[in-house]
């Protein structure tokens, strides 16, 4: 009898607890490329999610993290699953531009806000009914390309050659860079492509050398971008070298070694967080991320890619309290309110810059979101 009573009261308690909870939990669906060709970007992003706060404004946050293997079809499938089965309130992802572009239709159909961690401006531009649901945290390629062109002009570069990945990344950079460089009267004397798995780029490098450019820009991401640079140095190229922000991780420095000394690249301020002047508000936020990430994964492991995931969570932490005032998590009204709150983000300092969003601009970064960096003695040095 006593046991029965105990059981009954226990059951009653269990029944009461959820009923007493004021609101449902917030579900955040994540799809990222932890395996496949974009794994070097996706893995630090994935690691970052384990550092994120588990509550925002007193609400419990559930992160449902799926791997899309850098594959567009899987990214779309993951997004559908997250929206229809897990009933997520927001989707974060994916790591690459092709994946993120393919996800736009799905999130617009499911009326769920999405925060992409991929670079291309095409994800949020041109703004339309579908893209109204889409936000992104990494700097646009155009922003980075402008920084490179400006630096080239300041260093009297008249002719430049480009060698990039034979994929969306390399092509995207070529479009942005060639457009801006030509507008600023820098002559482009070479345009070559290579694959990330290539064992040799001798042919491309010889053709570039024959054109005698003042500078060479390598449009690649991660360690594969070291190959053209090493080949150029091997064949005696003496001009200026530029890389893109896609190489900003420690593995690139390890593989490229002394052949990358003196290379310039644009990057998010988080890469050189410790060297930023104290007056820069980004320094504090960026250092907090670096400290937390390295405490968990070891010293020197931090890369700029994971910080895009961190920034996405900062956007959420900023927007969720606003949305909670209007609706309950798990409802279409909450997702709509969250979308509106994200769009109204103003003066939010993050690890990569300061967000000032508007209905037309779902990134909202300005010049503060990029710095020029030089590789110096195997480390990143901020260029004043």
């Amino acid at each position: 009898m006593r046991i029965k009573l105990l059981l009954a009261s226990l059951l009653a308690l269990l029944g009461i607890v959820p009923a007493a909870g004021v609101r449902a939990e917030i579900n955040v669906g994540v799809t990222l490329s932890a395996t496949g060709p974009a794994a070097s970007l996706g893995i630090p992003e994935k690691n970052t999610f384990s550092l994120l706060p588990t509550t925002i404004a007193g609400q419990k946050i559930n992160y449902i993290i799926l791997d899309d293997a850098s594959d567009t079809t899987t990214a779309v499938k993951n997004t559908r699953k997250l929206i229809s089965e897990n009933k997520v309130d927001v989707v974060i992802g994916s790591t690459t531009t092709p994946n993120s572009l393919a996800m736009i239709d799905v999130v617009a159909e499911g009326e769920t806000p999405m925060i992409s961690m991929a670079a291309s401006a095409r994800i949020i531009d041109p703004m339309d009914g579908k893209r109204a649901w889409v936000f992104k945290t990494p700097q646009n390629d155009a922003q980075m390309a402008t920084a490179i062109v400006q630096h080239m002009l300041d260093n009297q570069v008249r002719t430049v050659a480009y060698i990039g990945f034979a994929d969306a990344y390399g092509e995207g950079w070529w479009n942005e860079f060639s457009r801006i460089a030509e507008a600023r009267k820098i002559q482009i004397v070479g345009n070559e492509r290579f694959n990330r798995a290539d064992t040799s780029v001798t042919g491309q490098v010889l053709k570039i050398l024959a054109a005698k450019p003042d500078a060479v820009l390598v449009g690649g991401a991660g360690t594969p971008a070291a190959l053209p640079q090493k080949s150029l140095k091997e064949k005696g190229y003496k001009g200026l070298m530029y890389q893109t922000h896609g190489v900003a991780n420690a593995d690139f420095l390890r593989v490229c070694g002394k052949d990358c000394e003196g290379t310039f690249l644009p990057a998010g301020p988080v890469l050189v967080a410790a060297q930023l002047p104290n007056s820069n508000p980004i320094k504090k936020v960026a250092l907090e991320y670096v400290t937390k990430y390295e405490a968990m994964n070891g010293k020197g492991t931090v890369s700029t890619f994971g910080a895009h995931a961190w920034d996405a969570s900062l956007l959420l932490a900023h927007a969720v309290p606003e949305a909670l005032k209007k609706a309950q998590p798990g409802t279409p009204e909450f997702r709509k309110a969250l979308r509106q709150a994200l769009e109204k983000t103003t003066n939010l300092t993050a690890a990569h810059g300061v967000f000032n969003m508007s209905p037309q601009d779902h990134l909202g970064f300005d010049q503060r979101a990029r710095v020029m960096v030089r590789i110096d003695n195997g480390t990143w040095k901020l260029v004043e």
């Binding site: 694959n195 010889l206 593989v255």
Partner: protein, 344 residues
């Protein structure tokens, strides 16, 4: 394009072609003996290169764990078979070979710091770690289905390839590695500088090809493999074990793959998934040889290397397209020229 550029591209093409040729030979060998289209051949290249890089970085390469796990799995299977057949006296030997040897290797790696060893010892250690994976793969994945159709064996190959790529990502991470050059020597021939490293690749590949030729022509095991390739049933009637032939051909394939990996790791950055594309280009070479002729496969692979080098100069964006399109006219020509008879 002047002569100097043409020569440099030629040098580059022959170097890559030499590696593709080795892989093409391994593919032809494995297919002729076991009818397996060995897609994971490229993984041995990646594993060889990355294991050497891990050793040089002073890290314990992940392949040690793979070796231990596969050894234990085989040991269990063999022990069960032996116990069922009541042949208990075989148990100690089975355990010693399958579990003891990998354990000993792992222990010795833990005991010495591999980074401080001379390069030659590191290379030998790499081969000892990676080559046994070949016969182990055969024992675990292919031997149980050795009599299946070519298509079924191909499907097994795809599964093994995907699994090994995943394991590679787990062991070595997403970023690539590069080992320091074996030699910094350069030779000036006229205007062109020949790098010692590329010469080393060509010479080592040529030596390996000669060694393979001698193995097949002069040794009993080599002749047994050739006999199996020619007629499996006939060879078995003559007392040549099909399983032994399979294990032997996979050992050779593993050795060729790992050795190629060691050779290319100083010239290029190798990733956990680089092996597939390198293997695929070897495969194009092997197809040119109709998956049957060794000299034609080697020549085809060198042709692939040269085509790749020159097309990367003229039209870098279409390099892979050009290389892999080569397979279409070759297949057309082959299908018109030969009548295909599959052995039952």
């Amino acid at each position: 394009m002047d002569l100097q550029i043409a020569l440099l591209l030629g040098q580059d093409g022959v170097t890559n072609g030499a590696i593709y040729a080795l892989l093409a030979l391994a593919l032809v060998l494995v297919f002729a003996v076991t009818r397996v289209i060995f897609i994971p051949q490229g993984e041995f290249v990646a594993f060889g290169a990355l294991t050497l890089a891990s050793l040089q970085a002073g890290k314990l390469p992940g392949t040690v764990w793979l070796l231990l796990a596969m050894g234990t799995a085989i040991g269990l299977i063999e022990c069960t078979t032996a116990v069922r057949a009541r042949r208990f006296h075989r148990l100690p030997l089975i355990i010693l070979i399958n579990c003891g040897a990998p354990l000993l290797l792992a222990a010795s790696l833990l005991a010495v710091s591999p980074a401080s060893l001379p390069l030659l010892v590191q290379v030998l250690l790499t081969l000892m770690l990676v080559v046994p994976l070949g016969p182990m793969l055969y024992r675990l994945a292919y031997q149980p289905v050795a009599e299946a159709s070519v298509l079924a064996l191909l499907i097994v190959s795809v599964a093994v390839h995907v699994t090994l790529t995943g394991i590679g990502l787990l062991f070595f991470g997403a970023e690539g590695s590069r080992t320091p050059a074996f030699t910094d020597a350069n030779f000036a021939v006229g205007d062109v500088v020949l790098q010692g490293q590329t010469l080393l690749v060509i010479v080592a590949s040529a030596l390996l090809i000669v060694a393979l030729y001698l193995f097949f022509e002069r040794t009993l095991y080599g002749k047994a493999l050739r006999a199996t390739a020619m007629n499996r049933t006939g060879a078995r009637l003559m007392g040549i074990s099909g399983d032994l032939a399979g294990l032997l051909s996979f050992t050779l394939a593993g050795a060729i793959g790992a050795f190629s990996g060691v050779l290319i790791s100083p010239i290029t950055t190798v990733y956990y998934d680089s092996g597939f594309l390198i293997g695929l280009k070897g495969f194009v070479g092997a197809i040119i040889g109709g998956l049957a002729s060794y000299p034609a496969a080697a020549a085809g692979a060198v042709l692939v290397g040269l085509l790749e080098a020159y097309s990367s100069y003229w039209a870098s964006a279409f390099k892979e397209v050009i290389v892999f399109t080569l397979i279409i006219p070759v297949l057309l020509w082959r299908s018109l020229k030969t009548r295909h008879v599959e052995e039952a």
